[in-house]
């Protein structure tokens, strides 16, 4: 008979060892607080710095100016006095009912555990947004970020011949990185027009000055892509991914300014073994929601983003948030928010020495304001054109991949049940969101179907409920605490 082991207590538990979590840890550990950082990955850095295994010897890991400040932060925190809980998943956060503080329930391997904390920072990041289209589940169809993850974390090309399609400029960066690593990238296709990109910058010319480094990287990526002979398409969408057991061909179809357009004579076909998609990102706020923090739906900023104060405290006292779950804004914004959250928690814990850090706070606030302006540009630029989802999804396209629910099923349920006006009601009737991912992947597309059918407005959307466990948990990890069959 096993028991859940007695939980250790910390001043602060940080969920997520990406830029936000690391920046908060740096502030708190520097002031002598006891800090534990929990991450699902085996090493620190988050998705943006996906570190290869320690045994790898790499001469130039993550080259380029974009990563400089982040790598420096990682190296500093890795030498600080913090408790690292890697390869560990957080299943839930329970606010203590009587006293203040939290109990954080964890899964590590096949073992349930828990840690206690006076304050919790949720900095769980984001993941790519999938969209339904014919062949979207074929092996070889991947997120652009997943292709990049293999490159960063394993120094491996996930495919030899690649096509990118989507709406997010992030594809240019991944395409250029894959070319540099030896891949043949056939094309990068955006649903937007070339003018959308230019006008976006012209509307906010200042960002060219504040974010010259980003634009320089983009220009360098473009130069490398052009030199490799990769074609760049605007106003094109994926029509279908095809292949018998594995992706072998992708067709692109021209679209109008709304993203609409039907397949036809002008389609272009490419023989590739990987399709890298990027239609923007969705924030991983389910843990903050499970704990009880208030959220708001902002699709372009990544979905259910968490409300917070200037000190990054959520509506739930003692629970802080930082990074993408407050609205997609990139790694530098996450780093600044992490610093502010660290200072906020330090101040609420009355840690000695916080007075010295007022300039750190001021610098983070300025930096954050700068990054939020750029994020507003980028999120607007990469937002899905209004007709794109409708044009891409055919009747047989899979809307919910875990439960294999097709767009047709959802449409028919909406037609026969006019009373369905919420994603939760749609879930109950269709099984959308009931599988392994618990709706993390399909929620936005289910919500889009309801909105397109005129059942609900974006302001009145409700999220799928988030409860313990926010990730699936093996039954065998649950201790047999009851030995005689009786219960209390």
């Amino acid at each position: 008979m096993t028991q859940i082991p007695e939980s250790r207590a910390y001043d602060v538990v940080i969920v997520g060892a990406g830029p936000a979590g690391l920046a908060a840890a740096e502030v708190l550990a520097g002031l002598g607080a006891s800090v534990a950082i929990i991450d699902e990955q085996a090493r620190a850095g988050g998705q943006i710095m996906r570190q290869p295994p320690r045994s790898f010897i790499i001469r130039r890991w993550l080259p380029g100016g974009l990563y400089g400040a982040l790598k420096a932060l990682l190296r500093r925190v890795e030498t600080q006095e913090v408790t690292w809980l890697f390869s560990t998943t957080v299943l839930g956060i329970e606010p203590a009912e009587a006293a203040s503080g939290f109990e954080i329930s964890t899964l590590s391997g096949n073992t349930l555990g828990s840690v206690k904390a006076k304050r919790v920072l949720v900095a769980a990041g984001c993941h790519e947004r999938p969209v339904p289209f014919p062949g979207s589940l074929l092996p070889g169809v991947m997120g652009a970020g997943a292709l990049q993850g293999w490159l960063k974390g394993q120094q491996m090309l996930a495919g030899e011949t690649v096509l990118f399609s989507g709406t997010h400029p992030f594809m240019l960066l991944v395409a250029s990185q894959m070319i540099a690593a030896g891949a043949s990238v056939k094309a990068v296709a955006f649903a937007q027009s070339r003018r959308d990109f230019l006008f976006g910058v012209l509307r906010r010319p200042l960002i060219l000055l504040t974010h010259w480094r980003v634009f320089l990287t983009a220009a360098h990526s473009l130069w490398r892509i052009r030199r490799a002979g990769t074609r760049i398409f605007f106003r094109h969408r994926v029509n279908a991914a095809e292949g018998s057991a594995q992706l072998s061909e992708v067709s692109l179809t021209p679209v109008d300014h709304r993203g609409s357009g039907t397949a036809g004579a002008e389609d272009k076909r490419f023989t590739v073994d990987r399709l890298g998609l990027c239609y923007g990102f969705q924030v991983s706020s389910e843990l903050a929601r499970q704990a009880g923090a208030k959220v708001r739906w902002l699709e372009a900023a990544g979905g259910w983003i968490v409300d917070h104060s200037a000190a990054m405290e959520s509506s739930l006292s003692g629970l802080y948030v930082a990074g993408e779950i407050t609205g997609m804004a990139g790694a530098d914004a996450s780093r600044h928010e992490g610093t502010l959250a660290g200072l906020g928690m330090a101040s609420s814990l009355s840690l000695n020495g916080i007075g010295k850090l007022s300039r750190v706070g001021a610098r983070a606030r300025r930096g954050l304001a700068r990054e939020k302006r750029f994020a507003a540009y980028l999120n607007r630029l990469s937002a899905l054109p209004p007709g794109l989802l409708g044009a891409m999804a055919t009747e047989d396209s899979i809307l919910c991949r875990c439960e294999k629910v097709t767009c047709k099923t959802v449409r028919e349920i909406l037609a026969t049940h006019p009373e369905v006006t919420s994603p939760n009601a749609l879930k109950l009737l269709s099984r959308v969101g009931m599988g392994f991912c618990q709706g993390r992947l399909c929620y936005a597309n289910a919500a889009a179907s309801l909105i397109a059918a005129g059942r609900v407005s974006p302001e009145n959307l409700q999220p799928f409920e988030a409860r313990w466990p926010v990730r699936p948990v093996p039954v065998s990890a649950i201790p047999a605490t009851i030995s005689d069959g009786r219960c209390t």
Binding site: E403, T421, A425, L428, L429, P472, P474, V475, T481
Partner: protein
Amino acid sequence: MKSYDALVIGGGLTGCASAYYLAKRGSSVLLAERNEINSLASGQNAGSLHFQLEHRLLQHGSDKGGEFARILPLNAFAIQLWQTLESELRADLEITMDGGLMLAVTDAEVALLKQKNALERSFGIDSELLTAAELRKLAPYLGEDVQMASYLAEEGHANPRLVTPAYARAAKRHGAILKTGCEVVLLKPEGTGWIAQLRNSPGEEIETVRIGMVLNAAGAFAAEAGRLAHLHLPVFPLPLTMSVTERTKAFLPHLLQRAGAKLSLKQVAAGNVLIGGGWSSRFERSNGVPDYRRRPRAQLDKIVGNIALATKAVPALAALHILRCWTGTVGVTHDELPLLGEVPQSPGYFVAVGGSGFTLGPAYAALIAELMVTRRTEHDISIYSPARFDHINNFMASA
């Protein structure tokens, strides 16, 4: 002013089913649901069709067991209803009635099963005691320490996500009007009937209607709904929790329960295993006060206890993942029997809540509709009448 024969308060299973049976008998029906159809306990429960006396009815000892056995005639009526429901509603409801086993692991549970079996047989429920050897053949998936089980061939399960919407569609086919996002805000007797005010969202406009009879089918919220008519209905909200595993190949054809512990277990059509049995969740607080209107909060220790019991009964579960746990709030009366009938102090005001709301919801609905339309029922339901709580409404009578 529009007028209806009946106003049904609540768009859960009992409400939608009552709207159907009333409309089918020719009544004009308006159903008011303040959320969505099937959005609370009716859609959130684990879908057991259990007709043996449950753990919660047995745990009080033999003297009480006799009292609770008064539910058994209703169970027999419900079995008939479920057996024909899919054809009646012209819908696939994933009803399986392939038998249910109530398990005994401890010696005390064996004694309980024997006593329960005798009681059930005296009420015409043909449950059958099976030895460990017989169980190995019938249910080879059971854990080794199961000593005995009581088998009832008619037990099984149905899909709670499908049953209420099917009743709602059938009610509409018979002309019933179902309003969602619609809250009853005023209810007062007038002449031989009632005047009701409804607040419809969005827009929040108030609509006044004339009503012949009122049916309170508000489940966990029945007491709140009752106060609109100046009545006290002793229905208490109870927050519960359930868990579901990933899908797996069909291996568990029966409904499982424990005789002396809180466990219900079944494999649904999609292949997932649902684990429940009455473990509690906890009310969320609003402004520091427990708020039973909010979706309750799951409690980790209760879920762990529930799943530990499940794995003991069916060891093969250990190879699966728990995908999700969820919560819901049911309404119970303090004697655990339903409230089913007309409130004596308030003629024209009917109640159908409490008890095993999923298993018995269709039966409550069929019987209450019969009572409302014909003023009598073929099956005697007088012992479930709200009259047994007369004393708390003698002061409240609206007349």
